[in-house]
Subunit: 275 residues, 2 copies
């Protein structure tokens, strides 16, 4: 995701300094106009805004905080973490960055590599409203950003997004399979209910994958399960009962136990088809 | 629903003969150009195509079959039942009508009164392909029709539609509530995730009702529960396991036990908010 996002920032006229744990990934951006650095601290030294896009909260902590690389930033600089991490981690990171005289936003995204390339990412932003306003010119090059609440709220919205996507995949699969078992044509049913109240991006995209039997991974079952587990652990810490997500976590886990780990998350269809 | 559908047929230039168990309902269509009859058999006597839109399968059976009113139709006439009934009932009705030398389609709809008025209903059609083709000019005045399989398949597709709608309401409610519990602004979260993979008609319409706390009934909780129970009983007869719909049936039933029967089905939000 970092590569196309960086290209969009360069195209929008921003001066971009890059660093990556894998040097070749950063180097590949030099031809697009980015200045490549050999350490995170070097890349950050002159920045008004720092953007991170990393695998999970532990990696963000390692790269920015444990190494104290973020302290290389000029006082008052804004750190926008666009990684998908747990809300409590985002809150803790913001607290540490503020203690160092920096500002922080959590800004995870939805829309995948295609959204990153086209600058159409949905960006869910948590943090102070004034910081959101100052980030807006940069985020506008990447997609449509919405300020949803205080630190950690962007990550909450991302979890909500993943809960809805993973659950809707299960619903569409169960409904299409019922039709198939009863003798209807699943592809025709998908068409017939499109445009009505049952319509969704999942019905359009993942529903079509089910009809085609195409479970080549875009987002893997394992990633969907990780997202649902993050949602459940967040719900638990808030003492909020989530019966539907609890069931979906069980179904994805069961599918993975049955050898479907490397399928696209639409592959929950294959598991439900055993029922 | 019958009233606006009849008006659309008249506007499209069809000669329409009407009958209703409640005479005033039929009478209201006279000013729009319909010929009102005092019995179902009278209304059917000259028809090429008969359309029924009734409360459930038992009522369709009473009106058309138990009374033998359908036998008043000319030989080879086509009966299009647009009521939402159980797939097994639709199959049984088709069998009886065929035994009387008539043709039959099940063609339930989604889209509500607004869809009926605007002629934008999603019409899910089960039956023979040739009968679907001959029905098309009439159905085109009412909405977008799709032939999904043999007799009963239209009703299967309608159940699939209701399973997805009822389930997506639960998912959106649970996800928005998690965000609210964590301190995010639900309305902003709904906006932020719109347009991404979590987007759906339910997120747009019912999600907004949740944000607004507007649970005035359009489709009631009790109707949603009835639909889910029909889906479960159909799944059971096909020996197909539907874990997600099974959970949703429990949640809607629990909500109704807790006094939420007369809310809109988006009111599942109120039940999940107790968790």
């Amino acid at each position: 995701m970092g590569h196309p996002m960086c290209c969009r920032l360069l195209q929008a006229g921003h001066a971009v300094h890059v660093w990556n744990r894998t040097a070749t990934k950063a180097q590949a951006l030099a031809t697009h106009g980015a200045v490549v650095h050999e350490s995170a601290a070097d890349a950050l030294a002159q920045a008004d805004i720092a953007i991170t896009m990393l695998e999970n909260g532990a990696v963000v902590h390692d790269v920015l905080l444990a190494t104290e690389a973020a302290r290389a930033l000029p006082a008052g600089a804004l750190v926008i973490d666009m990684s998908s991490i747990q809300p409590v981690q985002a809150q803790a990171h913001a607290q540490q960055l503020q203690a160092w005289g920096l500002r922080a936003l959590d800004a995870p995204v939805s829309g995948g590599t295609i959204g990153a390339e086209q600058g159409t990412l949905a960006i869910m932003v948590g943090g102070d409203a004034a910081d959101f306003d100052s980030a807006h010119p940069v985020l506008a090059a990447l997609g449509r950003s919405t300020h949803v609440g205080p630190h950690g709220s962007g990550q909450l919205a991302k979890l909500a997004n993943q809960m809805i996507v993973g659950g809707t995949i299960g619903l569409v699969a169960e409904a299409l399979l019922l039709c198939q078992r009863g003798g209807a044509d699943m592809g025709k049913v998908r068409q017939a209910i499109s445009g009505g109240f049952a319509d969704s991006r999942v019905l359009q995209v993942h529903g079509q994958r089910m009809v085609d039997g195409d479970f080549a991974p875009r987002a893997r079952m394992t990633v969907q399960l990780k997202d649902l587990r993050n949602a459940l652990s967040t719900a638990q810490s808030l003492q909020f009962d989530t019966p539907i997500t609890t069931l979906l976590e069980q179904l994805y886990a069961q599918a993975i136990d049955h050898g479907l780990a490397d399928l696209d998350h639409a592959g929950l269809f294959v598991e439900l088809d055993k029922g």
